[in-house]
Each structure stands twice: as structure tokens, then as C-alpha cells.
């Protein structure tokens, strides 16, 4: 792998086995310099292990790992130039908040005055400047996590690895910290990998998103690509609420149909043609619209008739849960003052354009 390609981090068919258990398998990943990559996945999907392997805390059992073009598999952690924030955000109990943040800077042998300034900046960014003289045991979990984040970012490493950096933060702090992270990332031109279970605050600031499941990379791409065209139902569900209907495709004359449980038949757009017979029909809640029968016929829409089971208030959007036989569908509608908005228990017809439906592997 050449450094001239502008690739900061490259993993090729990387695998990690711990205690005879294969945690990661065949991971291929290239992260260009200056990219902010968010790695999403459920618990035990291998996100933390991936970051630990890159940092050198867990050895690769197979594959290759390059940082700035250099093979770092045999390089010690402390020489890899990757600063990692651990999931449990440990702070050294014998050092104050300032002392903790100073640790990474102490390695760089910078002047005390410069160091002090950088500590103050780092703490100010995460809103912890007023706590700089406190001790770790005097802080709440949320505060400790922000100090750990400041400590990692203050080190100014070429590669930042953040494992669940906002897990204990409230929604307001999450958004603020995410914006700060994006800004800092742009200013410092570092490369950042963030592992998280919930990508709500992180996906908006990501350049690319990777989804891990069961130790395998499911899909890697821009947030929009993963949201609109997920490769499988894991990715579809990870990227947000999805309507997923199990069934199988069949050809009737020249038309392709998707037959789901309860005799629900969905005519498919040509672009949705797929190889497997069994599969999952996928579309997003915002693709569904309330329609009348005439409009549906006129616009050649796929229609579902169902009863409004419950309603979720999401601020600017109202999310409806519809029961169509055994199938549950989600529909997002922009909030309005229209008195005709569906109500709970009401029988309504909803439709979507056939090209919005994708058939995913079963």
C-alpha cells in the first residue's frame, strides 16, 4: 500500500481471533487521509475489536494493516500514532482532569505554556474547562467521558479512534459534541474512526459509514448510499427505521411480483428485479404516502390498506404504525395542521412508487 495514494489506513482481509473465537473476519477497509468514518453495529459486532486491532491492542490473526503506507502489524501500540478513546473512558485516578488531558501532550515535550493552552482549549471544546482542577472521582460518567474525549483529541494524533464517544451523553450534548468533532476534524485534518451502536448523532457528520455485523463488514459507503440502497436487512435496519416484508419473487407473464405472507402481492418495478426467489422487500417510511384509490391507479402506485395502530411524535415528523394483516408498516409524514391527518384506529390506504421498493437478500 502506497502512502502516495492518500490512504491513511488500509486493512486487507484482516481477521482477529481471541481465545479461539473469531471476532473479525475478512475486513477490507481503506480510509483516506482526513476522512471521518463512522462504524455502526450492534453489540458484539466487532466494532471495538476493530479499533483495538488498528491501535495495536489486539493483534491481527490474519490479513494486513497499513498506516500511511507502512505495515504496522509488528509495530508497538505507542509507535503507531493512533490515539484511542476506550469504550469505558478510563481516567487515571491519580491525575486531575487537567493532568489526564496533559498526558498525551507530555509525550510531545512541548513547552509548559503551550501545553497549558492546549489543555484549556481541549477542555473548553467539550465544556469541561470549569472542571479542570477536579479529580476523576468527583465527576459524573458523562463528564468523565467528555474528559476522555478531550484527552484523546488533545493528543493530536494522525489517527483518532473513538469507541462509543457519546454513549453516556444526553441528546443535546451529543449533537453539540458531534458538531465540535466535525469542526475539529476539519481544522486538524486528522483521520477519525468512530465506533457506535447508535448513529443518530454521528451519521450526519460522517464522510462515510461502515456497518459491521457478526465480525463482518456488511457495507461501506456514504451515509446516503447506505440509507437508500442498503445491501441487506442488517444495514437497512442499522441506518434507520425500515419497512421490511419477508416473501418471495415470482414472474407472472412479463411482470415480476413479490408475494408476501397473507396473500399480499406487490408488483415490482423492473429495476428491483433480483436473482433470489426468497427475499425481503425494503422501503423507507418516508416513501409511503396516504393515497386514494384513483390516485394510486393513475400513478401506478403500490398500495396497502391498513389500520393506524399507533402514532409516534418525532418533532417535525409524525410516524404512523400501520397494521396490514400480519405486516406492520411505518409511514413518516411531515407534521401539519391538516385536520385530515390519520388518527389511531382509522382505516387508511397508503401507497408508494414501485421503484422505491428494493428486494434485499433474505
Amino acid at each position: 500500500m502506497s502512502d502516495r495514494d492518500g490512504v491513511r489506513l488500509a486493512l486487507e482481509r484482516a481477521g482477529v481471533t481471541i481465545d479461539h473465537r473469531e471476532i473479525l473476519r475478512h475486513i477490507d477497509l481503506q480510509v483516506p487521509r482526513g476522512e471521518l468514518l463512522v462504524i455502526l453495529g450492534n453489540t458484539d459486532s466487532g466494532k471495538s475489536t476493530l479499533l483495538r486491532a488498528i491501535a495495536g491492542l489486539d493483534p491481527l490473526s490474519s490479513g494486513e494493516l497499513h498506516i500511511d503506507g507502512a505495515d504496522v502489524r509488528r509495530l508497538r501500540t505507542e509507535w503507531r500514532g493512533a490515539a484511542m478513546m476506550m469504550q469505558n473512558f478510563p481516567l487515571w485516578p491519580n491525575r486531575s482532569v487537567s493532568g489526564n488531558v496533559a498526558f498525551g501532550l507530555e509525550q510531545q515535550r512541548m513547552k509548559r505554556s503551550v501545553r497549558k493552552l492546549r489543555i484549556q482549549h481541549a477542555l473548553a471544546r467539550v465544556g469541561m474547562l470549569d472542571f479542570r482542577r477536579h479529580w476523576p472521582w468527583q465527576l459524573s460518567d458523562s463528564q468523565r467521558q467528555r474528559v476522555a474525549l478531550a484527552r484523546t483529541l488533545a493528543a493530536g494524533a494522525r489517527l483518532n479512534l473513538l469507541d462509543e464517544p457519546f454513549s453516556t451523553q444526553d441528546e443535546q450534548h451529543r449533537r453539540g459534541l458531534a458538531q465540535m468533532l466535525k469542526q475539529l476534524h476539519q481544522d486538524q485534518e486528522t483521520t477519525t474512526l468512530i465506533a457506535a451502536r447508535d448513529g443518530q448523532a454521528l451519521v450526519p457528520i460522517a464522510d462515510r459509514v461502515a456497518v459491521l455485523h457478526d465480525g463482518r463488514m456488511q457495507q461501506l459507503g456514504t451515509p446516503q448510499a447506505l440509507y437508500d440502497t442498503p445491501s441487506n436487512r442488517v444495514v437497512a435496519e442499522t441506518m434507520g427505521r425500515a419497512n421490511l416484508i419477508e416473501g418471495e419473487t415470482e414472474h407472472v407473464g412479463e411482470q415480476t411480483l413479490f408475494r408476501a405472507a397473507g396473500d399480499l402481492v406487490i408488483p415490482l418495478f423492473d429495476g428491483a428485479l433480483v436473482r433470489p426467489r426468497k427475499g425481503t422487500a425494503f422501503f423507507r417510511p418516508h416513501d409511503l404516502r396516504p393515497v386514494c384509490e384513483e390516485q394510486a391507479t393513475r400513478e401506478n402506485q403500490v398500495c396497502f390498506s391498513g389500520r393506524v395502530d399507533h402514532v409516534e411524535f418525532l418533532g417535525g415528523v409524525i410516524r404512523y404504525a400501520l397494521k396490514t394483516g400480519d405486516i406492520k408498516l411505518w409511514m413518516d409524514q411531515a407534521r401539519s395542521d391538516d385536520p385530515q391527518m390519520p388518527r389511531v384506529g382509522q382505516q387508511i390506504m397508503v401507497g408508494l412508487a414501485p421503484e422505491k421498493i428494493r428486494i434485499l437478500d433474505a
Binding site: 509507535w79 485516578p93 498526558f103
Partner: protein, 560 residues
């Protein structure tokens, strides 16, 4: 942050009872002992001054302190690298180190001293004098230093090992990620975490060395502080008693100063930050492996050597300057016959002590709450017991119960049990730190939130969780009572009960050496059983819960 909590009246009243009991059993006798030497007339001041500035006493104090410090340093030279090697080595190597490390505790110091003494005699006859090796720096105290260093090595080793295994591995990993060198990580992360544990082990060892009389007497060193106290008492005269009290005052002052200097590590429960993961292990090169093997061999020699030599002595070897004259198991039969009558009362005394240690240490541990004043008072009172040498407390009891000894013989046994129990409580209460932390970190609150009644919480959660530590405390009391010599020599003097005194007297009787050694083997067996019981108890219920528990339990179990 720990919020301040109000104390319930029940808790406060139990706390007051415990504090009252400690005042009654410790402060009163000690106050009475030292009050007696407070002069009331001009002439008495002069007499006290003469005793305190007595050159012999001053020299004894300095000599005792120097010997204890040297032995402590010597034990540390082996124990500290051993603990670091154990925590980073394979489970098999760690198990070997732990198994070897616990062996010195199987023999009381006076038995170890006898073993070293006989070994030195044999080596002298072979032309290899051990005392000459000290190049005259410690005259002939080298054997005593070696005895103490080998016997108290486990205190430092296990105290440090527990802490090292419960340091959160991610603290070190984070430092590595921030480009810190190994040296920097050791200096800034590991050392600050481990230093209090080392200080704890070293201070406890130091205090126990200072108050020990068995080993110096066995090696014929009457010029130390503790033996001087005993010989002053045994003089039987008023002058002798004054000397004993003066020695007690100096010993108490030195102990109190040590406790004062090491108050933080002695009094505070080290907070476990363990995440359940194995401690950080560096990549081990051939040099590291070689060092580990060397350390295991060294601890093997220090631990197994004296025990093996004790067995050889009990078989009749090592006598008359010859290594193997005639080995015979006959000594064991003779020893068993002489030991049998004293065993039942000794075991009863040990069991009583164990029960008392268990009850009082449980009470002290449960009452301790850092957020309440009453809780802190209990911990403070219990930890101040570290500063009271058992020998001094025994002397205080001897003085206090003087006139009742004849009319009520049972009071001496009560005094003896009190001394042994009170000396074990500060150590035993540390066994409860782990389980209590788990209980208070949510176990009890969750049960209360689920509507469980107080009695059900006690029966279903608290007692099962604490049972391992309670069993451990019982076994610690049992082991302490079986090996106690200092307090027994003060309070019971020439009696053959408990068992340790019988072993001591037999070993000091001319011509009875092999039988004494065989009795020493029996005593080692009893102590081994008691200490293994502590280990087994600590591995019981609450270790099953989750990895953090299991690791802390293992660490605690390793301590004993």
C-alpha cells in the same frame, strides 16, 4: 461523588456499642498500663527519664527498627519483581508463584527461626558460615533478618499482587495509545496505583516483625525491644516491670508512628477498577522469560527450603553438625503423643478466636460507610488497632487482671482471646471490601426497589454475598490463634497450651529438637489447613456473579 447520608439510629447505636467495646478492650487497659508510669513526684520523673534514656533500651529500639526495615527491604527485593512477573505471566506460572508464595505462612516465625538456626549450624560445620556473609554489619542478626524476610514475604507479595490484578487494564492501554513508553506507563499509571498496596503489605509486615518475640528468642537475641519487654516482665520485680512498661511505651510509639506515616494505605480500601479483563501483558522476550524463571526458582528456594529443612529436622537429620545422621519417623510418633493432650483445648481456643474475629470484623466492615460520620469513626477506630502491638496489649491485660488471675483463671484465657482477636480485626475487615462494594453498588438497592423486605434482603443477598469473607475471617482468626506466641508468653507464660507454646518450649529444650521439629510440622499442617480454608471460603459464592467479582475474589483469595 459520594453523597452525605444520614445515619439511622439503629446503625448509630450499634456503632456506639462497637466503639465502646473497643474502648473497653483497648483504650482502658492501655491507658491503665501507661498511666502507671506517669510520675507523680519529682523522684519518679527522674526514674522514668533514667529508664527511657537507658542506653540498652535506645539501642534495642534502633536495632529492632533496623532489623525490621532491612528484612522488609530484603523481602521487597524478591516480592516486588515477583508480583509484577506473576501478574504478567501465564496462568500456570502465576499459580506456581502463588502456591510457592503462600508457603512461608505455614510456619510461624519462631519455627522458621529454628530452621534457619539449625541450617546455619550445619553450614558452619561444613565451613560455610552464614553469619560471616553479613560482613559484620548486623553482627549475628543475619539469621533473624533472613527469617523475617522469608516469613513476611507473602504479605508484600500478595498485597501487591491483588492490587496489580485489579488495576483496570484500559488505564494502561490508554496510556499506550497516547504514545507513552513502558517506563512512563509504569511510573505514571502503574506505580501510583500499586504503591499504596505495597505500603500496606510492607507496613503490616514491619509492625508484625517489631512485636515478634518468638524468632529473636529462638535465635538467642534478647537485645531487641520485644524480647526486652518480655524479659522485664519475667524478672518479676518492680524494676523489671518498669523496664517492660518502658519497652512497651517505646514499641507502641514506634508502631503508632509507622501507622501514622502509612495511614492512607492502611486505612483506605483500594478501589478496584477491574474490568474483568486479564491484566495488561507485554510481549515476553527470552530475557523476560529467563527473569521470570529465575524469580520462581528464588521464591521456591525461599519458601520450600525452610519447609523441607523442617521435615529433615523432624526426621532426625541436621543434628550434631551432621546432615543425615539417622533419619527416622519415630519423632513423629513421640510428637503426636505429646501433642494430643494439648490439641483439643488449643483448637477450642482457636475456634473461639475465629468466631470472635468473624463476628467483630463483619460488624466493623458492615458499619463502615464513607459517607457517614459513624461509619468513618468505626473504620478509624479499627484501623488504629494496627498501631497497638499485641505484645503491648497483652502486657496491659496482664497488668490489669493481675489481682484476679488467681481467683478467676478463665480471665487470662479471655484476655488472650481478646488480644488475638483485636489484632486480627483490622486485617480481616479488608476481606469484606470487595463483597461490600458489590452489595452497595446496586445489589441491595435493586432488591429494595423490587419490594424485598429487609429480612429477605439479609437472608437472600447480604449473608450469601458476605459468607465467603466471613468464612475467610474465621479462618484468619483460627490461624492467628494457632500460631500466636508473643501474647501467650506474656499472659500464660509457662503453660503448654496453646499448641504453639508447646512447640516453642519443646524446640528450646535441649535434646528435644527433632520432636520439636515434628511438632512444628504438625503446626505447619494445621496452619496450612486454616489458610487453605480461607482460600476456599473466598472462592465461594460471590465470585460466581460476574467477571469483576471473580477477579477481585481471586485476588483476595490469593492474599491469604
Amino acid at each position: 461523588m459520594t453523597p452525605k447520608q444520614p445515619s439511622s439510629w439503629k446503625r448509630v447505636s450499634v456503632t456506639l456499642c462497637l466503639l465502646g467495646l473497643l474502648a473497653l478492650l483497648v483504650a482502658w487497659p492501655l491507658g491503665g498500663l501507661f498511666w502507671d508510669v506517669v510520675p507523680t513526684k519529682h523522684g519518679e520523673w527522674e526514674a522514668l527519664r533514667r529508664i527511657l534514656v537507658n542506653n540498652d533500651l535506645q539501642e534495642s529500639a534502633i536495632r529492632s527498627l533496623l532489623i525490621a526495615l532491612t528484612a522488609c527491604a530484603l523481602a521487597s527485593i524478591l516480592a516486588v519483581p515477583l508480583a509484577f512477573a506473576a501478574v504478567r505471566s501465564t496462568p500456570l506460572a502465576r499459580g506456581t508463584i502463588i502456591a510457592l508464595g503462600i508457603l512461608p505462612l505455614f510456619t510461624p516465625p519462631f519455627v522458621s527461626a529454628m530452621v534457619f538456626g539449625r541450617l546455619s549450624e550445619v553450614l558452619s560445620d561444613l565451613g560455610l558460615s552464614m553469619t560471616q556473609a553479613s560482613a559484620g554489619v548486623f553482627d549475628d542478626h543475619l539469621l533473624l533478618i533472613l527469617t523475617y524476610a522469608s516469613h513476611f514475604l507473602p504479605f508484600i507479595l500478595f498485597s501487591l499482587l491483588i492490587r496489580l490484578t485489579t488495576i483496570d487494564r484500559s488505564l494502561q492501554e490508554t496510556a499506550r495509545n497516547l504514545q507513552a513508553s513502558r517506563w512512563k506507563i509504569w511510573r505514571t499509571v502503574t506505580l501510583p496505583q500499586a504503591a499504596p498496596a505495597y505500603a500496606f503489605g510492607a507496613c503490616v509486615a514491619l509492625l508484625k516483625m517489631l512485636e515478634d518475640v518468638g524468632a529473636p528468642l529462638m535465635l538467642g537475641h534478647n537485645d531487641l525491644l520485644a524480647p526486652q519487654l518480655l524479659s522485664g516482665l519475667h524478672l518479676g520485680s518492680e524494676q523489671g516491670m518498669r523496664l517492660a512498661i518502658a519497652a512497651a511505651l517505646v514499641l507502641f510509639t514506634i508502631s503508632a508512628l509507622i501507622v501514622l506515616l502509612a495511614w492512607h494505605p492502611l486505612s483506605r480500601a483500594t478501589s478496584s477498577t477491574a474490568t474483568g479483563k486479564q491484566p495488561l501483558r507485554w510481549r515476553r522476550g527470552p530475557a523476560m522469560r529467563l527473569v521470570s524463571v529465575g524469580l520462581i526458582l528464588a521464591v521456591g528456594a525461599v519458601s520450600l527450603g525452610p519447609l523441607a529443612w523442617l521435615v529433615v529436622l523432624s526426621l532426625g537429620g541436621g543434628t550434631s553438625g551432621k546432615l543425615w545422621p539417622t533419619l527416622s519417623a519415630h519423632n513423629f510418633t513421640a510428637a503426636l503423643q505429646s501433642a494430643l493432650p494439648s490439641l483439643p483445648p488449643s483448637l477450642t481456643f482457636a475456634a473461639l478466636t475465629g468466631v470472635m474475629v468473624m463476628l467483630l470484623s463483619t460488624l466493623a466492615a458492615v458499619l463502615y460507610r464513607p459517607s457517614t460520620r459513624s461509619g468513618r469513626s468505626v473504620r478509624f477506630a479499627v484501623n488504629t488497632l494496627f498501631a497497638v502491638p499485641g505484645l503491648v496489649l497483652a502486657l496491659a491485660y496482664w497488668e490489669m487482671i493481675g489481682q484476679y488471675r488467681e481467683s478467676w483463671p478463665g480471665i487470662t484465657l479471655f484476655a488472650l482471646i481478646s488480644v488475638v482477636v483485636l489484632k486480627q480485626i483490622p486485617l480481616a475487615q479488608h476481606l469484606f471490601n470487595g463483597p461490600l462494594r458489590e452489595l452497595r453498588n446496586g445489589g441491595l438497592t435493586s432488591a429494595a426497589n423490587l419490594g424485598s423486605a429487609a429480612s429477605a434482603r439479609s437472608l437472600g443477598i447480604s449473608i450469601p454475598t458476605l459468607s465467603g469473607a466471613m468464612g475467610g475471617a474465621f479462618a484468619i482468626g483460627l490461624a492467628a490463634a494457632l500460631s500466636e506466641l508473643s501474647a501467650v508468653l506474656v499472659l500464660l507464660q509457662d503453660r503448654e497450651i496453646p499448641f504453639a507454646v508447646q512447640v516453642y518450649h519443646t524446640l528450646r529444650t535441649v535434646g528435644q529438637g527433632p520432636i520439636g521439629a515434628a511438632l512444628g510440622v504438625f503446626l505447619a499442617g494445621l496452619l496450612a489447613a486454616a489458610l487453605l480454608a480461607v482460600y476456599a471460603q473466598l472462592r465461594r459464592p460471590w465470585r460466581q456473579a460476574h467477571p469483576v467479582n471473580r477477579q477481585t475474589a481471586n485476588a483476595l483469595a490469593e492474599m491469604v
